[in-house]
Point group: C2
C-alpha cells in the first residue's frame, strides 16, 4: 500500500470517511448564546442530574453519544471503537462515561484539540480497514475546569480581559464508510509548538502559533490556498488568539481575514454574556462542530470546512514551575462534495 | 478493503509491523532490581539533571526516545508520528518531552495501559498506510506519581500490603514496516471494565477483571489457546492482581499459571526492595517491554508474547467522590516468527 502521507504532516484518506451522525449536549449559558438552535440538548442547571460536577461532565458525554447513536440509527454494539477525551485530571470525564458503553476504548489527551485528535485517529482507523463505525467524544464543563485549573467556584475573582470562558458542552461524532452528506477527506496532525507564552490567562496567544503552523502545513501539503475553504475554523483561540493567528498569516502573505473564525468566538455573545475573549475547552470546538458547523455543511451553507481545534498542553503544576505553555492544533478537512 | 477486525475486539494487521528499535531509561531503584541488565540508561538520583520531578519525567521520556532513535538509526525527522502518554495531570510528562521533537503528535491517556494503547494505534496507523515510522513513548516517575496521587514525598507514611510501587521509568518503541526480528501481528483493544473495587491501594484487584476480559477476548477472537503464547505478560497487576486474574481464568477452565507473569512482578525483587505487591505505573510495562521482553524475544528465549498493559482510569477526585476504579487492558501480540 502506498503511503497516504502527503507533504510533511497531512494524511489523505484513500476514501471519504463519512459523518454518520453528530450530536451535542450543553449547559445553560451555552443554550442562551447565539448558537442556541444548534444544540441537541441543554441542561437547565448544568448538573445533568448528578451530585458532582465531574459526574455531570461524564453524564453530559453519555448524553451526547446517546443522541448521536440515535441519529445514526446504531446501537453501542455497532461501534467498533470509542475515542474520547476531556480536560480533567486522568481524563475521568471520558473514562467514567465509557464504562457502560463496553466498547473498545482509546483515551486521548489533546487538551482542547481533542475532537480534532479523535476525528483524525478515528478516520485513519476506518480508512485503514479496522472497522465500520467509530465514535469520537470530547467534553469540558465550566465547573470542573474552573476549580481544577483556576480557583474554587465560590471564589468569584475578577477575570482578566484576555481570559476565556470554559464551555460546558460535549460533542459526539459517529464516523462510518457508508456514504452520507459530509465526509472527512484529509487530516493534518499537529506537533507541539511552544513560543514561550507563560500567561495562563492568555491561552489564545499560547495556541495561535500552533494553529498557524498546522494550517500552514495543511495548505502547503495539499497545495490549497486559504480560499479553497469556505470556512477555516479554529477551536478556542478566542478573539485575541484569532487576531494573532490572522497576523501570523499576514506575515506569510496569506489572508485569512474573510473566511476564518473560531469556535470560541462563535459560541457566546462575548459582551452580552460577559465572557471576555470568548469560549474555550474541549467542549467548545466539539459542540460547535456537532451543531452549527456540520448543520451548515449539510445544508449547503458551506461546502468545504477546515476544522482546526487547538489545545494548550500545560497544567497548573507546569505553570507553577515557571514553564511556558505548549500548544497543538490538528486540522480536519470536511467536505460535502468529497471528490475521489 | 476487507475489515481487519476479527471477532469482537481484535484487529489482525494485514502485515507484520516491526519493532525497529526499543529503549528505556529508568531510576536508581529499578537499576538495582532483577532486570538491571536490560535497561539502557539508569539515572543515579532520579532527577535526570532537572530541577523538578515533573521535568525529570519529561527528560526521562526524551532520553528513552533518543536512545531508541539511535538504535533504529533514524532521526526525529524520520518519525511520521509520535504517540505518548503518562500519568501526570494533563499528561505534561509527554507534552513537554514532545516539544523539541517537532513531530506529528498524538497525546494518549490510558493510565498504565498507555504503552499498549500506543502500540495498538501506532501499528494500526502504519498498517493503514499512513507512514513509515511511528514512535510510542510512555513513562511514570515515583516522585511525580506519589505526590500527585497519594501523599507528599516527605510524609513517609506506612504503605498497605496491597500497595504497589510506581516505577521510575520510560520506554520508547519505534515501529516500522521494514523487516526486523520482532513484529506486532494482532492487537486487542480493551473496553472500560469496572467491578466496583474502591480501594485505591489495591489497584491490582481493580485492573484484574479488565486484563481477564481483554485476554479472554483475544483468545476467543484469534481461536488461540493460552499455550499458543510462550508468555502472557500483564502490565502492573502486581502479585495480588495477577493471582486474581489467574483465578478468573481458572473459573473459565483455562490455566494461565505456567506461562503468565506481570511486569510489576518482574521489575522488582519485592521483598529485598520492599515494594509490597510489586511495581506499577505506565513506566512499568514500558520499561519491562523495551528491555527484558523484547531482548528475550529477539534472542529466541520466547517466540510469541502477548503483552497486556493494564490501566486504572480513576483519579484522586473520583476516589474522593466515592467512585469505584474502572480498569482497562490492551493486548499486543508480539512474534519473532510472524507468519503471513
Amino acid at each position: 500500500m502506498n503511503s497516504k502521507k502527503i507533504g510533511q504532516q497531512t494524511l489523505a484518506l484513500s476514501q471519504p470517511i463519512y459523518i454518520a451522525a453528530a450530536a451535542n449536549a450543553v449547559g445553560q449559558k451555552e443554550s442562551e448564546g447565539p448558537l442556541s438552535p444548534f444544540f441537541d440538548y441543554a441542561d437547565a442547571d448544568d448538573t445533568f442530574s448528578q451530585k458532582t460536577w465531574e459526574k455531570a461532565e461524564s453524564a453530559m458525554q453519555e448524553k451526547a453519544l446517546e443522541l448521536a447513536k440515535e441519529k445514526a440509527h446504531v446501537t453501542s454494539s455497532d461501534l467498533d471503537f470509542l475515542f474520547a477525551g476531556d480536560l480533567l485530571n486522568q481524563c475521568i470525564g471520558s473514562a467514567y462515561a465509557a464504562r457502560d458503553a463496553k466498547r473498545p476504548f482509546f483515551g486521548l489527551y489533546g487538551a482542547c484539540s481533542t475532537m480534532g485528535e479523535g476525528l483524525a485517529l478515528a478516520s485513519m482507523t476506518l480508512d485503514g480497514g479496522f472497522g465500520r463505525y467509530a465514535a469520537v467524544v470530547a467534553s469540558s464543563h465550566f465547573c470542573t475546569a474552573e476549580r481544577q485549573y483556576r480557583t474554587p467556584l465560590e471564589y468569584g475573582g475578577q477575570r482578566t480581559p484576555t481570559a476565556q470562558w470554559t464551555v460546558t458542552g460535549a460533542g459526539a461524532v459517529i464516523l462510518s464508510k457508508e456514504p452520507e452528506s459530509c465526509a472527512i477527506t484529509h487530516v493534518t496532525i499537529g506537533s507541539v509548538v511552544d513560543q514561550g507564552i507563560r500567561d495562563t490567562n492568555n491561552m489564545g496567544a499560547a495556541m495561535a502559533p500552533a494553529a498557524h503552523e498546522t494550517i500552514l502545513s495543511h495548505l502547503r501539503d495539499t497545495g490549497r490556498s486559504p480560499d479553497y475553504y469556505d470556512l477555516i475554523v479554529t477551536g478556542d483561540l478566542g478573539y485575541l488568539g484569532h487576531e494573532l493567528m490572522i497576523e501570523l498569516f499576514r506575515q506569510d502573505g496569506l489572508s485569512l481575514e474573510v473566511n476564518s473564525t473560531d469556535c470560541g468566538i462563535l459560541i457566546f455573545d462575548a459582551k452580552r454574556q460577559d465572557v471576555h475573549c470568548g469560549g474555550s475547552g474541549c467542549g467548545c470546538a466539539a459542540s460547535v462542530l456537532t451543531g452549527y458547523l456540520l448543520d451548515g455543511l449539510r445544508a449547503g451553507q458551506w461546502h468545504n470546512i477546515l476544522f482546526c481545534p487547538t489545545g494548550a498542553l500545560h497544567s497548573p503544576t507546569s505553570a507553577m514551575q515557571g514553564e511556558s505553555i505548549p500548544g497543538i492544533c490538528h486540522a480536519i478537512a470536511l467536505s460535502s462534495q468529497p471528490s475521489y
